[in-house]
Symmetry: C2
């Protein structure tokens, strides 16, 4: 007998008919002799409707009241799923965030889970009941409802799995697993059987939005075995696990891309100590997240000037340019160039730790296709390059073949 | 400075624009220097939608989960009203049932309030905040959300007013007060300035559904001064108060009617001890509420038989007939006659305690119009008659004139 946490997103619980299909997934585990806790999102469209109501109340809203309004979406689904399970003969009850309690900090609208009191729920589960839990919510240290930010139901599920000491956390979604790359672009993309937490984190952080990043972090920290699988088929999905669980590592597990990138280049910045801090300090103050940073060696050592390129999200581009320009005098650069038509391509794999030449093969492959690399950044298990947006598909397909990832 | 509880129903909070109008009513009291707690219903249509979802899950549903689903409607409204108030510069926060807590018994779906912990809320109100409270809900002794039954928000408001020791409880609704009779039928009906709790209870129990009966009972028990007033005008409504507060009593305060009546007559029932119990026992067991009962004196003392007539709601008529017929042998009546085309007309007024002849004037007035009285029942402050349904309007208008209630 295993204890399994299942999580279903908004499209999986869009109406009572869909909820019945979700209940069938739950019943299947119960019939197999397993104990189950289910985490559910709001019915598709409900959260948007509630957020829209809040938006109509005024521009500067109180996040505590936002949480009161928006958290009701998941509350509705959890009651309905408990009812449908009961109707199918499965003993079940709902547990709202304040009933555990699922304790969070008081950062309303984007709270972090700090602890989950599981005694009562475990007693109920051990008594043979399925626990149905609204995702995305908890109760703050102020005793008021908190929400975890959009997509927070993944985090709820993984945190619950960790607290319950669950054997597995199944994230049911509209894709049937994690792929070597986006199958909409690369027809030969393959579904992975297993992937490590680190790889999943890198995949998520560069745009493969199968799982919320924080949920993977929590899973890694607590060793929760995650499975990404489809709500619409009974098939096994992709297991996200510790590196030790994967015997045969592929060199490269996947290739991710992100179009939400923009590049800013400062030409001929004075090459003196502290100059980087005086550029990135103001950007940090403005809450602008800087991703890749490349500083070229001074082309002309006599003039002590250097070119500096960095990337931000496309949404932040305009603000970032404004922030830098407002410090133009202090910085003393000659020219500012910005470009939103770029894409970041990343090859990811824990195997590259023990293999040299991974980056080199990437550069070679892109060069052969005549693709110019604008910026490079590397981490222990990832190599990312920034290229012109129009080359995205070409680059993905070439690299997928280069690293031997193509399926049948 | 007074402490006022205001209650707004579903049509008053139908969307954010309507909620803004509600907030203006709240702000008016705040600007006048008063402290305010507001009780809100779900946005019009939301509760029906949620109940419909629950109905789709199966026929025999768990009332505890029903409460989880359905209570979210009021939760949404309370968050939104707090936000709108803040946007209008009025300090406000929502208080959910479990946050007080508003303690109820565990009769889910139709729970009764047993106590309200007001310390935290009073502290907030004394600190200058408007308290926004979702009506219709509390938390049971099992620690789970309960609801009070449809229309329970009136009860929430009055119970809260009692617990807070409020100076007044204003029930905002789509009528501008309590009338001497239904103004849709009698054009000369007048709005009453004041009415006693007892009269309001009798009015409510015979069909004038302005206030939920239980809310009036609680108001009477705790001496809460109730005001029924319109959300769509700024005018004073009708005060429901203790008898002592009304100096000049009208003889009759109002005339109510109920079309939801049906009559059953058992002809020639043996006139022996215990016969009434053997008729009404089975009806009570079947949860059928019997209202008026009339037993005629035996017409023929030799045969020791009597005619017995009683009324039930129209909805219960078919079941009541079936229950009685299933005991036909034991009861030994000769014939059973039933009639759903009847209406109950009631004249109501605490003044009749000290005045004789009120009933006589009623019978006289109806006789003059050629209306046959089928059943009569009286209480201390009410005389009710059952007449043919087609005479309802005629009787109401005649009685309204007879008792001097006609306005300009």
């Amino acid at each position: 007998m295993a204890l399994i946490v299942q999580k279903f997103g908004g499209t999986s619980v869009a109406d009572v008919e869909h909820i019945r299909a979700v209940a069938a997934h739950v019943k299947k585990e119960v019939d197999a002799g397993n104990q189950v806790a289910v985490v559910v999102s709001a019915m598709a469209g409900v959260t948007n409707q509630l957020v829209d109501y809040v938006d109509q109340t005024g521009k500067l809203y109180d996040a505590r009241e936002y949480d009161v309004v928006v958290s009701s979406g998941e509350q509705i689904t959890s009651g309905l799923l408990a009812l449908v399970l009961q109707d199918m003969g499965v003993s079940a009850r709902s547990w709202l965030g304040w009933q555990f309690p699922i304790e969070t900090n008081s950062a309303h609208g984007k709270a972090r889970i700090e602890g989950i009191e599981t005694d009562a729920v475990l007693k109920s589960i051990n008594g043979g009941e399925v626990a149905v839990v609204p995702g995305f919510q908890g109760v703050g240290s102020d005793g008021r409802i908190t929400t975890l930010g959009r997509g927070g139901s993944d985090t709820s599920a993984v945190a619950l799995a960790a607290a319950l000491g669950a054997d597995r956390c199944d994230i049911y979604t509209d894709v049937d697993g994690v792929y070597t790359t986006d199958p909409r672009i690369v027809a030969k993309a393959r579904k992975l059987d297993k992937i490590t937490y680190e790889e999943m984190l890198e995949m998520a952080s560069v745009g493969a939005k199968v799982l919320q990043t924080r949920s993977v972090e929590i899973a890694m920290k607590h060793g929760v075995r995650l499975q990404v699988r489809s709500s619409f088929s009974g098939e096994t999905g992709t297991l996200v696990v510790d590196e030790d669980e994967i015997v045969e590592h592929e060199l490269i597990s996947g290739i991710a891309y992100s179009r939400d990138e923009a590049k800013i280049t400062l030409v001929a910045v004075p090459d003196k100590p502290g100059i980087a801090a005086s550029i990135f300090g103001p950007l940090a103050d403005a809450n602008i997240n800087v991703d890749m940073i490349v500083q070229n060696v001074s082309a002309d050592p006599e003039h002590k000037a250097t070119d500096l390129t960095f990337t931000v999200t496309e949404a932040d581009l305009e603000r970032a340019v404004a922030v830098v320009k407002s410090h133009e005098k202090d910085l003393g650069y000659k020219d500012l160039q910005s470009d939103g038509d770029v894409v970041k391509i990343s090859v990811i794999g824990v195997g590259m730790r023990s293999h040299a030449g991974i980056a080199q093969r990437m550069f070679q492959s892109l060069a052969e296709k005549g693709i110019n690399i604008q910026v490079i950044s590397t981490s222990e298990i990832k190599v990312s390059v920034l290229i012109g947006e129009e080359y995205a598909e070409l680059a993905l397909r070439a690299l997928h073949t280069t690293y031997g990832l193509d399926g049948e």
